[in-house]
């Protein structure tokens, strides 16, 4: 299995250095070929298990709960804020 490390890194929002790239590519391809083992298993008609609890319809009532934190707490972990807002480099949708 070939893997396009650059493309995947872009999707994953990761920066992979040119030095890391070949090593990572090799490791990932090795792991992916190990996954090929699953091709042996006949899974036709087998349901998918994405959760194991058997729970269904778990919801909460529409009520305001005392979970809200203050503005000060909300932005306390950020290195870049401005007037109670988080600040990032401009992401322009429309130039």
């Amino acid at each position: 299995m070939k893997i396009d490390v650059k493309h995947i890194a872009k999707l994953a929002n990761l920066t992979i250095s040119p030095e890391e790239e070949p090593k990572l590519e090799k490791q990932l391809e090795e792991i992916l070929s190990y996954f090929d083992k699953l091709k042996e298993v006949d899974t036709s008609g087998i349901e998918e298990t994405s959760q194991v609890t058997g729970l269904e319809n778990v919801t909460r009532e529409d009520a305001i709960r005392d979970c809200t934190i203050s503005q000060k707490e909300a932005i306390s972990g950020s290195k870049s804020t401005h007037n109670g807002l988080f600040k990032v480099k401009a992401v322009l949708e429309n130039s």
Binding site: L14, F35, L55
Partner: protein
């Protein structure tokens, strides 16, 4: 015996009889940390001041008649448990300075139960790893032999308990991260049923696999902790509303219990000594009048592939929130293993590959779960090795991720099926390194696991072994 070497049960008795105080107990633990943490590197953060304050408070409360179940018991938390106001790092540079704005549900429950929080323990960053070597805050060493790994990912929690720096510690088990280090450090590790303990406020690794458990010196202590942590949480939609029994009421003996031994587990690449230890344990249970039954878990050989696909996929999504905007630092600070898993999971979920990997893995997961369902029609519990090998030397497997992944073969199945498993000490190898066995049961059968674990440990007494620090 030093105070810090007591079991929780022993300590509670001494606290109740006023023989000792919570402050004495906490100080003993802190002294031990000060003495040995430099070498073992079990803790990332030690909250000496906070712990002593909590201990003082616990002593006052006890005088006032409070008898909360863990009042004054010093414990350590794996550094993925969010603690309000106390740094929580996941052993990653990304969260190097993160001070949580809230307590996780389990942390709140432990605090309410009177536990004294000593600090936060080291781990493989983001709980990614089986050895404890993959931490941005340094390798954790095995207290039994410092050239060896303590197992991961809850390396610091296991090592700190084995080194008697605390009376118990918490962990998370996504594919063996409690059981493996428990078995490598001669302590009891519980991976509860998926959903038995709330995941709210614990840094997620793989949401459909993460199980929140703990380390203790005995099955009795483990049961006592589960009494506190178990239960449905309105903040975690995956915690069934099942009553929490009194786990501390452990039935005696295993007479008449049917215990299954999966035949496949002994044909796969497994160390001779591990095989022998497991066989000895089986024999011991037989002597205790349990009925040993051979069972089959035919899809076990696919479990590592299934696990690594599902886990990586969920990891890639769960780690997306770490973008350095609201907290933490930029994504370039992720370590090699986290990057590898994010990349792998991003790939297996990507357009054109989803069916071949993620969907296929979820289908084989069904088959693995069905293997267990069928087995538990015949037996009450299953016994198996925890790891195919004894603890390995530090550095031995770091360059070969796939080899490292394969050491999870016996543990990942419990996470895929959502069933509970208890790892208990099974003695030392010829190199004086601990190994463990695990007892697995159907969902919500923790009582039975404690029963078997207790009977086994009482007759073997392996848990009394301590490392020569």
């Amino acid at each position: 015996m030093n105070l810090n070497q007591l079991t929780i049960k022993q300590a509670l008795n001494k606290l109740a009889s006023k023989e000792i105080s919570a402050v004495d107990l906490t100080k003993a633990c802190i002294d031990q940390i000060k003495k040995y943490n430099g070498e073992i590197n079990a803790f990332i953060t030690v909250d000496e001041k906070g712990a002593l304050e909590q201990a003082e408070k616990a002593d006052i409360e006890r005088k006032n008649g409070n008898s909360a179940p863990l009042l004054g018991i010093p414990i350590a938390l794996k550094d993925v448990f969010l603690t309000k106001g106390l740094k929580t790092t996941a052993a990653s540079k990304v969260l190097e300075n993160y001070i949580p704005q809230y307590d996780g549900t389990v942390v709140a429950k432990l605090k309410d139960a009177g536990a004294v929080i000593l600090g936060k323990t080291n781990l493989d960053a983001w709980a990614h790893g089986s050895s404890g070597e993959n931490s941005d805050f340094g390798i954790t060493r095995n207290p039994y032999s410092k050239e060896y790994v303590p197992g991961g990912s809850s390396s610091g929690s296991a090592a700190s308990l084995a080194a008697s720096m605390c009376l118990a510690s918490t962990g998370t088990d996504t594919g063996g991260s409690i059981r493996l280090p428990a078995s490598f450090t001669n302590v009891v590790g519980l991976k509860p049923t998926y959903g038995r303990v709330s995941r709210y406020g614990i840094i997620a690794m793989a949401s459909s696999l993460d199980s929140i458990g703990h380390f203790a010196k005995t099955a009795e202590d483990s049961a006592l902790l589960l009494n506190v942590t178990a239960g449905s949480d309105p903040l975690d939609a995956t915690t069934p509303d099942k009553t929490v029994p009194n786990y501390s009421k452990i039935e005696n003996g295993v007479k008449g219990l049917k215990i299954g031994v999966p035949k496949e587990y002994f044909t796969m690449g497994i160390d001779k000594e591990i095989k022998e230890k497991t066989k000895t344990a089986i024999k011991k249970l037989e002597e205790l009048d349990a009925e040993i039954v051979e069972i089959s878990l035919p899809n076990t050989e696919y479990s590592v592939a299934v696990y690594y696909i599902i886990m990586s996929s969920e990891v890639s999504s769960n780690l997306a929130r770490y973008d350095g905007i609201r907290f933490g630092s930029a994504r370039q600070n992720f370590g090699e293993e986290a990057k590898r898993r994010i990349m792998l999971g991003t790939f297996t979920l990507s357009a054109g590959y989803y069916d071949a990997y993620y969907k296929k893995a979820m289908q084989v997961r069904t088959l693995i779960k069905q293997d267990f369902d069928k087995a538990f029609e015949k037996v009450d519990a299953i016994i198996s090795p925890v790891s195919p090998t004894a603890p390995w030397k530090i550095g031995e497997k770091v360059s070969d991720p796939l080899k490292m992944y394969l050491s999870d073969i016996f543990t990942v199945t419990a996470n895929l099926a959502g069933i509970p498993a208890l790892s208990v000490p099974a003695g030392l190898t010829s190199d004086k390194l601990p190994v463990g066995i695990q007892i697995l049961g159907p969902q919500f059968s923790e009582e039975k696991l404690f029963q078997i674990g207790h009977a086994y440990e009482q007759s073997t007494q392996f848990y009394k072994e301590t490392p020569n620090l």
